[in-house]
């Protein structure tokens, strides 16, 4: 989809028609009070950011070979200026909050954010595969579609002119700080939370998240909420109560690539109403909810576009054989033919009514080796084990509009954190 050369109103009309909703100018979410006779000026901001599932960024002229990874192009600017750059193939991640970009891609000059003792602040993020990203905090304006989040703290991963990674951050794992290591040019965390860490890092100093880095080394430190990595969506001046990710369905063999949309705001414009979507609250501390599978409730359940598969339970519980450790699909399931399942997600209604909302989710898991060795990149049936966990990864998003209600932000569905689909 072309992002340029159209007026915002015309673009709004295109989406209004696609979604069968009101025509251009019908939304906006602004209201006037009192007897003002001058009609309010409704400015329609382009809130639709293109996203794609494809084979990933190129390295030495070849796509890196991604599978089930959702990407977008992020524009960053020196705060308050028009000195900007765009970075493609940044992973769209509903499982984290905050923007992390690889230092090798950064062309802007961005000073380190410092703490009260004038030491630069280092940030660490660890992933379940024990890879990590480490680097300084800097501030940028983040531009997505027509939306701008100003002076957002972000992480520059693998900055060469910064302190060495603390051992509590690396913890024996491998870095994910180059294109080869990460398979993306960065991670755009647009999850349920406003910050990456939140209150735990404001009131204490966890051993491997924020660090104050002096000439002699880095020590864990607390960082006020406003100084932490921020989900840029909640920092937009409007369309900031959440977002929706919209991907078309794919066939059982997958697709070479899939184009979709990330739409900012929930019920704030004519193109982002909840429609028939049902909202389920997530745990305010962990973001988890409950998925019931074969009659057993699993409370460690979450929806994560940054997981490149359904990562659910274990081989014994699902009856799915694991792929061979030596195969291209180690850490995925390898049934000889696709297996169909149904599970029930449930959570409190975030509107405060005290009721529980449930949804039946049908899905299928196919042979991981066959999928990954195929030329396709976008699969609704790639899965693997995660003990005791029900992780609805990127396959969940195909054929759905998935709304992410950000914590403490409100919409017609209620107050976040919640999911709606």
């Amino acid at each position: 989809m072309s992002r340029r050369g159209r007026l915002a109103c015309a673009r709004g009309l295109v989406f209004a028609l696609l979604m069968g909703l009101a025509a251009c100018g019908g939304g906006g979410g602004s209201s006037s009070s009192g007897g003002n006779t001058t009609p309010p000026v409704v400015t329609t901001i382009n809130n639709v950011q293109p996203v794609v599932v494809d084979s990933g960024p190129s390295l030495n002229g070849q796509p890196i070979g991604a599978n089930d990874e959702l990407f977008t192009t992020v524009t960053i600017c020196v705060p308050g200026t028009s000195t900007c750059q765009s970075i493609d193939h940044v992973l769209v991640d509903t499982g984290s909050s905050g923007l992390r970009l690889l230092s090798g891609n950064i062309a802007l000059t961005l000073p380190f954010v410092t703490d009260t003792t004038n030491n630069p602040i280092g940030n660490c993020v660890q992933f379940a595969d024990t890879s990590y990203q480490w680097g300084p905090l800097v501030k940028v304006d983040v531009k997505l579609a027509g939306e701008v989040a100003s002076s957002v703290p972000i992480q520059i991963a693998g900055a060469p002119n910064f302190a060495a990674v603390p051992t509590s951050c690396s913890a024996g794992g491998i870095p994910a700080q180059t294109l080869l290591q990460l398979g993306a040019n960065g991670i755009l965390g647009v999850g349920l939370f406003r910050q990456d860490c939140g209150p735990a890092c404001a009131s204490s100093s966890p051993p491997a998240i924020y660090f104050s880095c002096s000439a002699t080394g880095c020590t864990p430190t607390s960082v006020a909420l406003t100084g932490q990595l921020q989900n840029p969506v909640w920092m937009f001046p409007q369309d900031n109560n959440g977002l929706a990710i919209v991907l078309p369905q794919v066939g059982a063999a997958g697709a070479v690539s899939v184009a979709g949309s990330m739409i900012f705001g929930i019920g704030t414009q004519s193109n982002n109403g909840l429609g028939s979507a049902q909202a389920q609250a997530a745990n305010a501390n962990t973001g988890n909810f409950t998925t019931t599978f074969n009659g057993v409730p699993y409370t460690t359940s979450y929806i994560d576009s940054g997981s490149s598969g359904f990562f659910i339970l274990d081989s014994t519980t699902t009856g799915l054989p694991n792929c061979a450790s030596s195969s291209d699909a180690a850490s995925f399931y390898c049934p000889t033919s696709p297996v169909s399942f149904t599970a029930i997600t449930s959570g409190r209604n975030p509107n405060g009514s005290g009721t529980t909302v449930s949804a039946n989710i049908a899905f299928s898991i196919a042979n991981g080796v066959s999928l990954i060795d195929s030329p396709n990149t976008s699969f609704n049936n790639l899965g693997g084990p995660a003990p005791g966990v029900f992780d609805w990864g990127l396959p969940f998003f195909f054929g759905r509009t998935v709304f992410i209600g950000i914590e403490s932000q409100t919409s017609a569905a209620g107050t976040g954190p919640y999911w709606a689909y």
Partner: protein, 127 residues
Amino acid sequence: MLGGSAESVVNDQLKFQAKRTVVETQEYTLHVISLEDGTLIREYVTPGGKVFGVSWSGPTIPDLPQLLGSYNAEFQNAVHVKNGHRRAAGVHDSDLVVESSGRMRAFYGRAYLNSMLPSGVGQEIVK
């Protein structure tokens, strides 16, 4: 430390500067180590004094070289995937099983040795 002695559990507690509680059962002893940031580590020890399983849950991933000991190398080799960002990783060998999942604010994982499971104890105990 997976595969280590009961004393290695105390070493882990010291290394993590954490609190530890002990739960005795007929088939094994469970040590629960509570880290300051809210992460819980569980170590399962056989009647003969060997750590046959460990698990972790919480906002951060604990120091796995400390917790997995000599088995960490095999886990790291297995997860050293160049392409792609995955949110779960594992090893499933005839003896060693390691499974790791979750994301910021909520990580989970476990590891066990099939050869060391006490009689009458299934792998599902380690959680």
